[in-house]
Symmetry: C2
């Protein structure tokens, strides 16, 4: 049985250690010579100086609740770089007073009733927020409602290819329950192992598919949501035009309008045919064009990730831009579709690689990235990602603007560093670029250093016409830029909707809207 | 220059007459022997006894406004069967007092300012509502804002394949403006010639594609909406996860939250490869299974319309169920995709037809249907359609329940009649069935007769788990069933949003929400 890390990503057993740590340290030392890579260990849990809880559950709910140091510490922060580093420093100023683990939907209702007048409620799935979405960064009592026990696939409709699934289930347990039916959700965000269905829905997570069904939104047939004003359940429908979509209001509401307890999701047969390829581009601009042309061709690759030279070098061992392509189908062979995509690549200067080694290398890195990020955070490195989406016509200027802003900010706060970019998703009208930053920081200052870089790149993104987030969500960390991006009139509508559903404003205060 | 009909569909010049009328009458007489098919002509406009206008525009807006009998009569009703028949009887109890035709967005703002305290505003595009969406069925003054002059494609981004388009443009003018760029929106609802982009957006119209991009919603990059509380403009984004989607609140808002003035839409290259086929099924159930399997195979046909035996007989000259299939692409041949779809049809008992005659016959009928509906309405026939969507597991019982309810209601109110069904769209998790009713009515009673049938089938749809509308919208006519289908908690949220944007409740009162 694996042990979840209270301070970092995933499980204690899977943390980077030994040879992997040595190889990682050697690579970073080569990239950023002179960096102080001393490893700092996390504090012992008993040594944490948490504020005393200011609220306790009524006796009827005590069986669901915990205020142990471990629970409060583990639920205080998400899993962003700044969260992990603050944990490493034992900086846990804001932690929930109570962690409640409902076992039924009625428990969720009872918990909201208890909190209804003046206790803030933070819905919690896998705890993998990277935007401060689960951190009680406000005054007053806070109860975190951890849905981990609501983890069942309750019903499978094999004819319609849909399943009713409880919101607290984590990715692997969800797939384990669908597998006996020959079905899969195939929604694989990078956080897959430690994020929950409810979290995906509340934050509009981005999954496996690089095209077509990119966000979890597209897989939703209906939702069930507990709000302070009652339970909302939409009909199971494959499509509807009956007024504004009820589901689309709750998708992305990040716990501010209600607690999603279950959903009917569109599932599918497991793929039987697959094709993979890697294509190198001497010119990054040509790679961008090829990715665009493929996205506009109606070929619908499952994977279409363009790695820029820095990303390709660090995570795929390649020396030029690489386009990682994948097709899959449960119904028919995909070789001819891949052939057409490769033809389009060649038309735009791509060199198809004889093996998809780069692609395999990149996939293994991908799974280890969050663990390696933690290992590097322990070594005073600034290692973090950020992401956006924009239309194709704006991409070149967004990319150069963001890289310039990141490079300047890194230089200002940390001297040298690296900025990488890959596409996670490509749409006919634009890509979703995902950036990485690697720089040597100063132990004790890396959060402040990162926050400066983050502010600079967020300004550049919003100025270039991008969105402050394509799939990481808004939470508390993205508020300044989200508020500028969001139409004021829509903000007023959202406040109106929230007042109707959550009149005392107890649900996740400070996320999306001011308390 | 064609003349728009004030009382019926489309243009006066295209109305059914002569040979076409004779052939239609002969077919109906064969189907429903004994029906009185006397043709009733519409009243002359000057003979209409409209209530006097109760409000007049301020001098500054007079140049945009008309209260002529023709304008008021033509803008009073939509184009449902019950609208056309009431027009034929000169029953125009509720008509707007003023028709305003803004020439700029500022005009729209000024019009809302004028109306802001106590004049109801009805946004109007092509006037093709079939759900009472544009009818001032309430007390007090009403101004209809006809966006017909806001009809330009203002900007084309050929790199991202997107275009900025004003909301008042009708389908053909929209395509005419995109054609020189080699681009197309390819959104072809049956109302295409006489419905507007803004109407499609406000009602979540269903278009050309039977799969994948079915609703106009999927083609929206950003919206610009004038509300009494200000102008909302979302960013042009190919995808975003920044909070609940602002656009999805306005899509389907049916003029209750604001007036959509323009949008960026995803457009595409014109298709170069096409394949079409017709497949007959001796068993309707087998046809349903074949349609489902194709929808779940990831083949994405542009057309996948299953006609039941009655629909096939009446509109395609066939004697069994027919599946009309089509594939298209701007990038690559589609023959092998069609081959796989036909293989799936054969696996389920389908017989591929040597020509796609049925499909061609059906396409020509399709374009004439609204005109023929009017011609038959003049002959005391009850001719109307209704539509829904449901999951595949529920389709058989929904279909039998709806057909039984329709048949019983027809028998009750009109003796004999025919009920037909076709799929307009198919999703991996369910179809969108579209029903037709043909019965001989009594002149002077056909609206009441239809209303009884409509109530019966709507009950059957909602009871069987369907939606009261997949793409016709809610308007005023669908309110009783929409109110039952919509989660109460979502209704509260929508009221909250509306109060914030339209505090005096002037926008399209009675649509979606009570005034």
């Amino acid at each position: 049985m694996a042990t979840r890390s209270w301070w970092g990503w995933g499980t204690v057993e899977n943390a980077v250690r030994g040879d992997e740590r040595d190889r990682l340290t050697a690579r970073v030392a080569a990239l950023l010579p002179g960096a102080d890579l001393t490893v700092h260990e996390p504090p012992a849990l008993p040594s944490l100086d948490l504020p005393a809880p200011v609220v306790a559950p009524p006796p009827s709910l005590a069986r669901l609740c915990s205020s142990s140091v471990e629970d409060r510490a583990a639920h205080g922060h998400g899993k962003a770089f700044r969260d992990v580093v603050r944990n490493l420093h034992g900086s846990l100023a804001s932690v929930p007073d109570v962690i409640a683990r409902p076992r039924t939907e009625q428990d969720v209702i009872d918990l909201l009733d208890w909190c209804s007048s003046d206790i803030a409620v933070i819905p919690y799935g896998g705890g993998s927020s990277v935007v401060g979405g689960i951190e009680p960064r406000f005054d007053g009592p806070a109860v975190t409602v951890d849905l981990g026990h609501l983890a069942a696939v309750s019903e499978v409709d094999s004819v319609s290819r849909a399943a009713r699934i409880q919101a607290g289930v984590l990715g692997p347990a969800l797939e384990d329950q669908l597998r006996p039916h020959g079905l899969t959700l195939r929604h694989f965000p990078q956080s897959f192992e430690f994020s929950s269905l409810g979290g995906w829905l509340a934050t509009r997570a981005g999954g496996h598919y690089a095209t077509l069904y990119t966000h979890i939104d597209d897989l939703v047939e209906s939702l069930r949501v507990v709000t302070p004003s009652g339970v909302a359940e939409s009909r199971r429908l494959p499509g509807s035009g009956a007024g504004p979509s009820p589901d689309r209001l709750f998708l992305g509401s990040e716990g501010t309008l209600g607690i999603i307890t279950e959903a009917w999701l569109r599932v599918q047969e497991r793929p039987r045919w697959r094709a993979r390829a890697s294509v190198e581009f001497a010119s990054y601009a040509d790679g961008v064009t090829a990715a665009r042309v493929i996205a506009q061709a109606g070929l619908y690759p499952a994977n279409c990730r363009l790695l820029d030279p820095a990303e390709a070098f660090i995570n795929a061992g390649a020396s030029a831009s690489v386009l990682v392509l994948g097709f899959e189908s449960a119904d028919h062979p995909v070789a001819s579709t891949m052939d057409r995509a490769l033809e389009l690549c060649r038309d735009h200067g791509g060199v198809v690689q004889s093996s998809d080694e780069a692609s395999s290398a990149w996939r293994s890195s991908f799974l280890r990235m969050p663990y390696q990020r933690d290992a590097l955070a322990q070594q005073s490195m600034i290692v973090e990602t950020f992401e956006t989406a924009c239309t194709w016509d704006r991409f070149a200027s967004l990319h150069s603007g963001v890289v310039a802003a990141a490079t300047a900010a890194i230089k200002e706060v940390a001297g040298a560093g690296v900025v990488t970019c890959r596409f996670t998703h490509v749409y006919p009208d634009g890509p979703a670029p995902y950036f990485g930053v690697y720089a040597a920081g100063r132990w004790g200052s890396t959060v402040a250093q990162w926050d400066e870089i983050k502010a600079a790149v967020s300004e550049a993104i919003v100025a270039a016409g991008g969105t402050i987030t394509h799939h990481h969500a808004v939470g508390r960390d993205h508020r300044p830029w989200y508020d500028r991006q969001r139409p004021d009139v829509f903000a007023a509508a959202l406040r109106g909707a929230k007042s109707a559903l959550d009149p005392t404003g107890i649900l996740n205060p400070g996320v999306l809207l001011d308390p």
